[in-house]
Amino acid sequence: MSPYRALAAAHRLESDLVTLCSGCLNVLRRTNRRVASDLELGEKLRAAVELDYRGERRVRHLLEVLRDDVTWAEVRAQVARPLTGLKVAAYYGCLLLRPEREMEFDDPESPSILHDLLRALGAEPVSYPLQADCCGAFVSLRDDRFEAAGRVLKSAAAAGADLVVTSCPSCNYNLDRARTGLPVVYFTQLLAIALGLDGHFGEGMSDPRPLLRARSLLSEVS
């Protein structure tokens, strides 16, 4: 019901809905599909929420906006601090890609959208076996257990990554709390730095800036 409410609100603004979280994308996009295809469900939701919405709007992840509207070429052109030589493990997680037929996002076995972003930023994307595995955030938020997150990060480190980049705040929070020594950042943070901005790094969260400074990648932008 709440994803329906969000979709209907976007529709009232005559706007598509953009999210920067894989989990939200998963719920919103799948709800949107069902509202459009399941007439009975649509009827029930309209009656309960009292907003008229029939799946007219698109639900998009910010990564898709970058890829399709901005284009990688434009991102590349705007980069002020190329992240040359930085080995970045792209972490896709589970909800961004699956179920494949409902999400229609990327190839769930070998996804490429984060890889393409990283290339546009001048970094070197690193593939590793667990890049599309679940990080276990649903468990760790309750029980403080980080086995799943630890396995993902171990796999990324074994592939030679300097840094892990995520596409979902929940994954980011969870992986970061596993504290394996491998910095974990959200893709917009890395994007900001590459574009010449300062980037915002909250207290207690991974801060890649010392690493970037050590690699002489954090030069002053005029």
Binding site: R101, E109, S110, P129, L130, S155, A158
Partner: protein
């Protein structure tokens, strides 16, 4: 005045419950020319047929109308009964008052009126019927077998042994097909080549079998008993008549080539045979790997050949064969690597498919029969077999069961344990389908004697970790997640029709299902025939099947082909189109609408006319409908007859 008999069938209550059959008979009696009308419970029964025959004799009938079920049910029955009583069988017409009347109506009054009208229409038609004689078609006694694997060889052998000449066309340079690639066979563990090699030799030296290997069927024309087949032979760049099979060329050739026979597990040479027991024992040059063809100086093979058989200028050659029957035995492929991203197949060298495992296991294979993993040649201590890779997976693979995988995987696990006594085999499976003589017992042996660990569940993913392959799956019986660190992973990939199977189906004008397997004429009663008369199916080209079933089916196809070839001539239905040459203007519009390519122009003294080949014509009537000068007639369905039928219904 004609003397017509009308026979109204009750079909138990199928017709009689809805149609007043006595009233229909009475109405029929009132039609001029009808001298006999009766009803009976089942005219198709022996006494029923006897009643019709008796009426033909006693009332001296010259036309019969049977009002009963669809002509596709019993037309042939009643025609035969009439013929036995001395009436030309084509003077029998069926009025369908069951499927087209009693079964689809409920009102007795209107159904009875309709049934009477249908009978009147057929009476009007039969009055204008001409006696016809079946068309006699000659049958060429030779057969063509497409495919030189175990299926094709069996069919060719059976046909040749019965005294008929056979041409075998094989795409590869040598006979043997898939079976030649195998190590042992289940459930007896006979060595595959020990069984196959003698059969291959027998086929090769049979006086009535002609082998055309390294060749493909390009065009097929004609019809049952009279096919004409164009066969292209690719250039081998070696004169096989001169070649003595010493294989010095192969020994000395400096260019390695990944030959299809080794399935990615080993290399051959740019010139040579696929395997030592190859028949015919004659080499081919694989252009794409030959240094000479890559524009470099080489020609080592030509220099070492003691008989000067190497011929770099050899070109493709074409020949035409006339045959009476065709057996299609083109076999199977396995699903390619691109389908299995989650298993890393194609990405990690130690994830292989079962056909590759056969090569590793084969004593004449690249490792001499020692099971070594491809990446570093180590003997694997833990091997994971994954069944149903691409099979029974409607979403991402094929919905069907590939049928042979349960058994060959059990065989692989068994043989692996024999060769690596301290090794452990794991088999992930969905169900074990071991239906067959001695099959279930063999699977039990694999579990009990070879200690293979069978885990019911699917594998989610395979990825490398610490130099091994981590296999993540579930055991759905225990309800737990399973992780196995393996040295080698073997995928039982789905069985597919051979590449090019659909193109061949088009060439032969036979049907294939949505997966590309050839369609049989009837799944139960005509399993080796196609809907195209004279073309038969054998082996895995029709559906996944094992060697025993393939050989049985190949013999069945041979028996069906022989049933045709031994006859000398065929009787075909005379209900075909015929041209009235006096009226034909030679425009040949009919030729364009004919779906069977049965119409050809024919030159008369001063002009050309259309001419129908009765062997190809199926009597669809498209030509008769399109003909502007009314010259094209269809026997049994003349314009006069059809108009008379319509008139009888309307009046």
């Amino acid at each position: 005045m004609p003397r017509i008999g009308a026979f109204i069938c009750h079909c138990g209550l199928n017709i009689a419950a809805t149609v007043d059959v006595e009233r229909v008979a009475a109405r029929a009696r009132a039609i001029p020319g009808v001298v006999h009308a009766e009803t009976y419970k089942y005219f198709c029964s022996q006494p029923g047929q006897e009643k019709i025959a008796e009426a033909i004799r006693s009332s001296r009938l010259d036309g019969v109308v049977v009002a009963a079920c669809s002509p596709s049910m019993h037309e042939a029955t009643f025609r035969e009964a009439a013929a036995l009583a001395g009436l030309n069988p084509y003077l029998v017409q069926i009025a369908n008052i069951r499927e087209q009347c009693s079964w689809v109506h409920s009102d007795r009054e209107t159904a009875t009126v309709k049934a009477a009208a249908l009978v009147a229409a057929m009476v009007a038609k039969v009055r204008r019927d001409q006696p016809l004689e079946p068309i006699r078609l000659p049958v060429n006694p030779r057969a063509l077998v497409i495919g030189g694997g175990v299926a094709g060889m069996q069919a060719a052998w059976d046909i040749a042994e019965a005294g008929h000449a056979v041409v075998v066309v094989e795409r590869e340079p040598n006979l043997g097909g898939r079976m030649a690639q195998l190590s042992e066979t289940f459930p007896t563990l006979d060595c595959a080549s020990c069984i196959l090699t003698p059969r291959t030799a027998e086929v090769a030296r049979h006086p009535r079998i002609e082998l055309l290997t390294w060749s493909e069927v390009r065009e097929v024309s004609g019809y049952v008993g009279n096919f004409s087949v164009k066969i292209a032979r690719r250039p081998a760049f070696v004169d096989w008549d001169r070649c003595i099979g010493c294989m010095l060329c192969q020994d000395k050739c400096p260019a390695p080539a990944p030959i299809a026979f080794e399935h990615g597990m080993g290399m051959g040479k740019a010139i040579g045979v696929s395997f030592p027991q190859a028949v015919p024992n004659r080499p081919v040059i694989r252009r794409e790997y030959c240094r000479r063809f890559q524009g470099r100086k080489c020609q080592v093979c030509a220099k070492v050949c003691p008989v000067g058989a190497v011929d770099f200028e050899q070109a493709e050659s074409c020949r035409e064969e006339k045959v009476g029957a065709i057996v299609v035995a083109t076999g199977f492929d396995v699903m390619p690597a691109a389908h299995f991203g989650e298993y890393g197949y194609g990405e990690y060298p130690d994830v292989i498919d079962s056909l590759a495992f056969e090569r590793l296991n084969s004593s004449s294979g690249p490792t001499g029969g020692v099971i070594r993993r491809p990446s570093d040649g180590r003997i694997p201590r833990e091997v994971v077999f994954i069944q149903c890779a691409g099979s029974r997976d409607p979403d991402r693979g094929k919905p069907y069961c590939s049928k042979i995988c349960c058994m060959y995987t059990a065989k692989h696990a068994f043989l692996y344990r024999q060769k690596v006594p301290d090794g452990q085999a794991y088999v992930f499976y969905m169900d074990i389908r071991a239906g067959g003589k001695g099959y279930e017992e063999f699977v039990q042996r694999t579990v009990e004697q070879a200690g293979a660990m069978y885990l019911r569940g699917r594998v989610a993913r395979v990825y490398p970790e610490d130099g091994r392959l981590l296999v993540e799956g579930v055991d759905t019986l225990a309800g737990t997640k399973v992780e196995v660190a393996a040295d080698l992973v073997v995928l039982a990939t789905a069985v597919l029709p051979r590449e090019g199977a659909r193109d061949l189906a088009r060439t032969l004008k036979i049907a294939a299902d949505e997966h590309g397997f050839y369609s049989e004429a009837h799944p139960k009663l005509r399993p080796v025939e196609t809907m195209t008369r004279g073309i038969f199916l054998a082996g895995a080209a029709q559906a996944p099947r094992d060697i025993a079933e393939t050989v049985a089916q190949a013999s069945a196809a041979a028996a069906k082909a022989l049933g045709l070839l031994t006859r000398g001539e065929l009787a075909a239905d005379p209900l075909v189109a015929e041209v009235d040459e006096a009226r034909c203007s030679g425009c040949l519009v009919c030729r364009h609408v004919c779906p069977y390519q049965a119409i050809e122009p024919r030159e008369l003294a001063a002009r050309k006319v259309a001419s129908v080949n009765p062997g190809l014509c199926q009597g669809c009537g498209a030509c008769a409908a399109i003909c502007r000068s009314g010259a094209m007639g269809l026997h049994g369905f003349s314009d006069k007859q059809v108009l008379a039928e319509v008139g009888a219904i309307c009046l």
